[in-house]
């Protein structure tokens, strides 16, 4: 039996009805058409379905949608504002960290979770933060470069912000 479900997704409150066992991945992809998160293994290993819950990177194939009630969910669709890309998105473009794009939304969100709590990560920090996100195309080299470049960008815009 479907039950009422209240989610907060990308800053918007959403009311819907869903089976109690329905996975967050399926609610987001199928009920809310947020198809930026991808399904790669449905068992928590590939990270293609990564979303942010209260700014932590979470694999949405391992979360029942009800568990996410009362929390702030962010998907890749919620990252750019007014057509302005988030610095991590921009860095992924500038550094050629995208190939097929299937892992990209998960990679970017997992990177955001890292940079939000560690604005000055080392190469090793980046690798540890992304260990749960598989990529089969890039060999990860440019992904690491992009995250470090985004950290740079975000630090300098934070400094700019302080000056103003």
């Amino acid at each position: 039996m479907k039950k009422r479900l209240k989610l907060r997704v990308n800053g918007e409150d959403i009311d819907l009805f869903a089976e109690p066992s329905r996975l967050l991945k399926d609610v987001l992809r199928e009920d809310l058409d947020l198809t930026g998160l991808k399904e790669g293994c449905s068992s928590g290993y590939c990270g293609a379905c990564t979303v942010l819950i209260d700014n932590k990177a979470v694999k949405s194939c391992l979360v029942v949608a009800r568990q996410a009630q009362g929390h702030e969910i962010t998907t890749i669709e919620g990252l750019a504002h007014d057509g302005r890309l988030h610095p991590i998105q921009q860095a992924f473009i500038d550094r050629f960290a995208v190939q097929c794009g299937y892992c990209t939304s998960g990679m970017i969100l997992a990177s955001k979770a890292l940079l939000d709590c560690n604005p000055n990560p080392t190469e090793d920090d980046v690798k540890k933060a992304l260990v749960g996100n598989l990529c089969r195309c890039t060999g990860y080299v440019k992904i690491v470069e992009a995250v470090l470049a985004a950290a740079d960008m975000m630090r300098s815009s934070a400094r700019e912000g302080e000056k103003v």
């Binding site: 992809r29 947020l34 198809t35 930026g36 998160l37 991808k38 399904e39 790669g40 293994c41 449905s42 068992s43 290993y45 590939c46 293609a48 998907t75 890749i76 669709e77 990252l79 750019a80 890309l85 998105q89 921009q90 992924f92 473009i93 500038d94 050629f96 995208v98 190939q99 097929c100 794009g101 299937y102 892992c103 990209t104 939304s105 970017i108 190469e123 690798k127 540890k128 992304l130 260990v131 749960g132 996100n133 598989l134 990529c135 089969r136 195309c137 890039t138 060999g139 990860y140 080299v141 440019k142 992904i143 690491v144 470069e145």
Partner: protein, 828 residues
């Protein structure tokens, strides 16, 4: 090549990057049409069995089930790429675990899955064969396709294959290349080095699993939408198999989440078509991760014997390769054309040998059918060939770089099969890689149980012939350019370089170029996006389409400017004359005030075609034209080996490519790094474990592809591109890159492993178990490494080559090992 370019050769951002970083780019599973039903396949639990009875009643009765389709379906038929050897849904006989015996179509995927459990099938088990060398013996008691010689063979005029050679009933294709007199070569050799190498069954494992939707439009057009590397070829095959009009079939391709080979052919499209023709409703056939690992075409396992005859001065005068591929149960589903020949493109284009022989066997076994995977066997072949080079160098106390350098073909020289080759940057790749890793210096000592080693490998690769390309170009009134092409953007970046070429040819910024693609209805025919061919071919056909369009523009402008058409130039939407600033008009000036172009057709539409026909092989596999171009690559690696745990860690990598002109260097770097990533996976982790034909590790937990932790990054990686060399047909020197970047990786790691440990491992991958067995050999069961003068060879334990009915060598493994370690007079 002093020509200045404004767009090509520059690392402009990917044209698809914004769509992908914002999550807006749609992949197959992201799109759904109303009324979609879901199909699931029931596979055989046995590797080889006769189907005695199928009862689908209980499945049919489950609410939500629309149809259960079995081998009796009227549209079920034999199909194949080279041989028609496979029914879409098995009829009478199943030949591998997972061989589809029924398809359920239901309102939801869950219902379809539940219904599978309610289908009752009675089987009579048959004896099965899994080991490829056992299967190829003439006396193998299991014959997988008793009717093989009666199957319809599709014409492949350029390929010269023989089925069932030497009475080997499970060998469906045999292909050979013979140069010189191989026996004389070995007789004249001072040293003979021979080894048996193996590579495992693997899987391309793209992040996106296969999704194929099929439906009929109201006008009766059969529409397919899903993941492929080859929309037009698949469409053509489907039209042939089901006798459909090409005007009634359409293939749409959303973004593709990685492909790497297995998506070149008609699987699983063929099943989706059978289902939609049967149920006449929109249907989705999607594989989950387990099915990707068990049902989509596998990277085949291979056994490679390499025997080299060497003169005292280091000249390898004779090289004899026997290349045995385990294709699994069918040649049909995944296409085998050129899979036996394909891998030879590297072996014949790099090193000079007076005597050479290649014998390739494609063998049926009762395992899941194989498909192409990045380099269609070349990485496997070079796993053997490039370790041989190091073994020979060590035996002769020569520098391994110098030994290789000495054998590299010179510009214009005839390759092994008799074709002159051009644009050979192999030596520069080799030297650059060796210098970067400082190959002559010992690695820094490692702490505790770790040992470090360095290794290098060099390869030649190929761009295929015989697969022409077509492009259309339309020029709009504002000077913007529309390109119609059917290359598949798989992540490699073809849409970006195609945009760059059109922008370069018309002298417009890249944002004035629009691509129309991903749809067979509006694009010209294109062969598959595979075999390192797309950039080479499409660059040439697109350049011709651009020239055709420009010619039309100049013909229209010439009378207006009163200048002969051939003196005109084009840039930024204007037609002008070099050095005459006053003489120019805009493309828009050619149009009537209300916006039409007063010519037949009313538009500027350029068409381009480019072909490289092959000259068929003679009986010895010789031909003056079989390959369009040869890119080259060297990897140099430094690895660490933990001698207590068996862990192998790749710590530093330099990948150096000669791809001709890099249209977009950052994209080429991305290919190198991606090849390195898959190379690390294949070298250390990736292996499908089969027990009686059943895959035991069909998940990312058990089939480990590298995570970010296994990859060297930052200053530990160098992706380097050598300067382009002239090539007679390549568009501005562009060759190709795709597959190339995995090919030398395995052997570079193998050589580094030897450098670190003094042990030569001949079987991939270098798992902890295999490494420990190699190190502690005698203490570990089932493993007998040979030992001598400080060099050990650990080879796999299956049948020695001599027992293989003389297919390869006349010496048992023990004497090969002896020969390997002593300069002989060529008689032992």
């Amino acid at each position: 090549m002093s020509k200045e370019f404004s767009v090509i050769g520059k690392s402009i951002p990917r044209v698809d990057a914004r769509a992908k970083v914002t999550g807006q780019g749609k992949f197959s599973a992201d799109l759904k049409i109303p009324g979609l039903c879901y199909a699931k396949l029931l596979g055989s639990p046995y590797p080889h069995a006769r189907i005695k009875k199928i009862d689908v009643t209980r499945a049919q009765d489950l609410p939500g089930v629309i149809s259960v389709i079995t081998g009796d379906a009227p549209e079920n038929r034999l199909y194949g790429d080279l041989y028609m050897d496979s029914y879409i849904i098995a009829k009478d006989t199943v030949r591998h675990v997972g061989d589809p015996v029924a398809a359920v179509v239901a309102r939801s995927e869950d219902i379809a899955r539940d219904a599978l459990d309610r289908i009752e099938v009675e089987y009579e088990e048959l004896p099965a064969v899994f080991d490829v060398e056992e299967a190829m013996r003439p006396d193998c008691p299991v014959v997988i396709h008793p009717d093989m010689l009666k199957y319809t063979r599709l014409p492949k005029p350029n390929l010269r294959y023989t089925p069932a050679p030497e009475g080997r009933k499970n060998v469906f294709e045999y292909f050979q290349i013979v140069k010189g007199d191989i026996d004389r070569g070995f007789a004249e050799a001072d040293l003979i080095v021979e080894n048996r190498y193996t590579t495992p069954i693997g899987n391309a494992a793209p992040l996106e699993t296969p999704v194929m939707d099929a439906w009929f439009e109201t006008d009766g057009v059969l529409t397919l939408r899903g993941k492929t590397q080859s929309m037009h070829q698949v469409k053509a095959a489907i039209c042939n198999i089901f006798h459909l009009s090409p005007s009634k079939v359409r293939f749409l391709v959303p973004y593709v989440g990685g492909a790497f080979g297995p998506f070149c052919h008609i699987w699983p499209e063929i099943i989706a078509v059978l289902i939609v023709m049967t149920v006449q409703r929109p249907v989705r056939l999607a594989f989950d991760r387990t099915e990707q690992f068990t049902l989509s075409g596998q990277k085949p396992g291979r056994v490679i014997y390499v025997r080299d005859g060497v003169k005292r001065d280091g000249t390898i005068i004779a090289r004899d390769i026997t290349f045995i591929t385990n294709y699994g149960a069918y040649a049909g589903p995944h296409g085998t054309q050129a899979l036996v020949k394909g891998c030879t493109g590297g072996a014949i284009s790099l090193y000079r040998h007076e005597h050479f022989r290649f014998r390739g066997y494609a063998v049926y076994t009762n395992t899941c059918p194989a498909a192409a995977f990045r380099s269609i066997g070349s990485s496997d072949m070079h796993w053997g060939m490039e370790q041989q080079m190091d073994i020979i160098a060590e035996r002769l106390k020569m520098d391994p770089v110098e030994l290789r350098r000495r054998h590299i073909f010179k510009e214009g020289e005839e390759d092994i099969v008799g074709e002159p080759i051009h644009s050979i940057g192999a030596e520069e790749c080799l030297d650059t890689a060796a210098n970067w890793i400082k190959l002559k210096e010992k690695p820094a000592p490692a702490p505790g149980p770790w040992k470090k080693g360095k290794g290098i490998a060099l390869v030649g690769h190929w761009v295929v012939t015989e697969m022409p390309s077509w492009s259309y170009v339309k020029v709009h009134k504002d000077g913007s350019v529309e390109v119609r092409h059917a290359g598949c953007e798989l992540g490699q970046g073809c849409d970006t370089v195609i945009t760059q070429i059109a922008a370069e040819e018309f002298g417009v910024p890249v944002d004035k170029v629009r691509l129309i693609t991903r749809d067979t209805d509006v694009t010209p025919f294109e062969f598959y996006t595979a075999a390192t061919r797309l950039t080479y071919y499409i660059a040439n056909s697109l350049a011709r389409a651009c020239q055709d369009a420009k010619r039309q523009i100049f013909d229209l402008a010439a009378p207006r400017l009163e200048i002969p058409a051939h003196e005109l130039a084009l840039g930024n939407g204007e037609i002008y004359v070099e050095n005459s600033p006053g003489k120019r008009i805009k493309i828009s000036d050619l149009y009537s005030p209300i916006g039409f172009l007063p010519v037949p057709g009313g538009e500027i539409l350029g068409k381009g075609f480019f072909a490289e026909p092959a000259i068929p092989y003679d009986a010895n596999g010789r031909s003056p034209k079989q390959w369009a171009a040869h890119p080259y690559m060297a990897y140099a690696v430094e690895i660490g080996v933990n001698t207590e745990t068996g862990q192998v860690r790749v710590e530093k990598v330099a990948g150096v490519v000669d791809v001709g002109r890099a249209l977009n260097p950052k994209l080429v770097e991305g290919q190198i790094e991606g090849g390195m990533g898959q190379g690390i996976g294949g070298a250390i982790f990736e292996e499908l474990i089969l027990e009686d034909g059943r895959v035991l590790n069909p998940s990312f937990v058990d089939f480990c592809i590298p995570t970010i932790m296994e990859i060297p990054t930052g200053k530990n990686v160098a992706s380097l591109i050598t300067p382009p060399l002239p090539h007679p047909k390549a568009y501005n020197g562009v060759k190709g890159v795709g597959e190339l970047t995995i090919v030398p990786f395995f052997a570079a790691v193998g050589n580094a492993f030897y450098n670190a440990t003094g042990i030569r491992i001949c079987d991939l991958p270098l798992t902890r178990e295999r490494v420990l067995k190699a190190i502690f050999g005698p203490q570990l069961e089932g493993h007998v490494p040979a030992r001598d003068e400080g060099s050990k060879i650990a080879s796999s334990t299956s049948t020695s080559p001599s027992e293989q009915a003389n297919i390869t060598v006349s010496m048992p493994l023990s004497s090969i090992l002896k020969a390997n370690n002593a300069i002989t007079n060529g008689d032992g």
